[in-house]
Amino acid sequence: MSVNTAKDAGTAEAGRPNGTGARVSLQNLNRHFGATRALDGLTLEIEPGELVALLGPSGCGKTTALRILAGFEIADSGSVTVDGRDVSGVPAAKRDMGMVFQSYSLFPNMSALDNVAFGLRMRKKGTAERRARAGELLEMVGLADQVQQYPHQLSGGQQQRVALARALAIEPSVLLLDEPLSALDAKVRLQLREQIRALQQRLHTTTLFVTHDQEEALSMADRVGVMRSGKLEQLATPAELYARPATAFVAEFVGTMNRIPGEADGDGRIRVLGSTLPITGDRPDGPLDALIRPEELRIAAAPGGNGIVTIATFLGSITRVHALLSGDVTVQVDVPSTESAALSPGTSVRVTVAEAEVLVTGRQ
């Protein structure tokens, strides 16, 4: 399991085998709470067996979208279809969707095994079948030894794994995950991330994963939907999202981005750090900033250059250098660590930009 397999799966859409996953379509969903517009015409299509992550700042409506799909919330307008069937009138209990919550949600009065078997029990499956299936799933999430434990005897990570097994036990048409990892510490989070992804790919379950952690979204999802104020800003594979963000908002939200003041000329180009680059995407009026990734900048020690190194942070194979440019602009530049020795704080440097199309945004 790695970032790469996730990306590959996203691009190899045509080659996907036929699985149990359902096709999910959210059309033009609106939902408001008082004066707050939680969803403002959200449209999202999820392919069968695909894992889509919804990413966005707090309050942008991710949870609301997920809860409408789950049937816990009702949209003011718009439609939700699963495999072409409108499920708007179907209560949550009949939607056949597995859900893992942000907070611990295991039933405290039941053992891990009974928790996982609960959905099957509600489906009137026999005791033997329930136990066998629940045991199998607990084994899948690596908890074969904990089947008889009660939730209070399990760690946070273990509890969320039982919750995942419980959601998968009903062989849901759609798996819904609302920040299931946010209560866990970093190491457990990383493990579980990979486990969820591996299971999801193995079972081929259509999955909607809500998170505000971009690393999580980029590393796990086939496609990532970036949301802003109740709308979908861009839906694309992680690689695409990073390399070709559709809007300045996406560009700044995903990955690290430098904002560098530039001067627009008349014919769709911007002059920044001594280069003139073609502008892509929207072009607002007024003074403009160019949006440039740290790896697209070049930096070299140069007496009397255009900046001074303020911080150099060693990150393993690369070193991230902060340089203060004239006009009180700080930029971050990634350089191979082998070349960073000459860039200690205080060094005078010249920062230049690689020749490429750039996104621009209005100056703040």
């Binding site: 009949k94 597995g98 907070s103 611990y104 039933f107 009065n109 509600m122 209070h152 959601a167 819904l176």
Partner: protein, 287 residues
Amino acid sequence: MAAVAQGTQVATAAGDGPQRRRERTRDGFTPWRWLILILAAIYFLLPLYAALKFAGWGSFGSVVHQSGFGDSLWLSVRLAIITTLITLVLMLPTAVYVHLRLPRLRRLMEGITILPIVIPPVVLIVGLLQIMPGSLKGTPYTLGLIYVVLAMPFAYRSFDAGLRAFDLKTLTEASNSLGAGWPATLWRIVLPNLTTAMLSATVLTVALVLGEYTIASLDLFQTFPVWIVVFDQTSGPESVAASLLALFVTWIFLLAITMAGSRQARRSGRGEVNLFSVSRRDPGRSS
């Protein structure tokens, strides 16, 4: 009551806190604890001892044969059962509903449910007798209904504390998403997690009914407490024996309920019965 639950959590979160504090008490403060305990014990046990002495062992044997003893005790027990049942059936769904659907009304509910404590019993009974339909007057069930009202503050608070001790909304949603409708969710998820709260509501209701005098006597029913007072005027020692008997019966009853509750709570690792609060265990220790 929330403070109790929070207190335990803070203590566990502090890490080295509880252990060190325990050691310190063992060294320095234990004598004080014992002194206070002994003083309190004397304060409570001395009257009991005096009563025992006054009654004499013999009266315990003869009181059981007094006319009215069995009838009034049976009436009180029946009332306790009826009141508890009605209280559970009425207050439990109400508390759950308020928690899930009308969380903003929680404050208001707290205010409303405290009224029976604030209003003097005499006012309550006079008012109630005025509006009570004729068919109910004169049956002991009238009294049961009044006791339901009196028990409401305690029962509601127990349920409220119990519901706060777990994440009701998330658990019911989890249950729904797994295909359980409302009846199944209530029966299999909500109730099992409220056993402790139900027990504490039961304990409080039973204690209230077995000890209530004012309203029963005003409503002209000879419940056990009323019978004791009436009987007291004819036979001193034996009536004292009767009240001691009542006290012990109630105690044993409460002790049994509480122990059953604690044992169950310990098995599934949930909170303990503390009448007004259900202390919550720290969920999900990080691995």
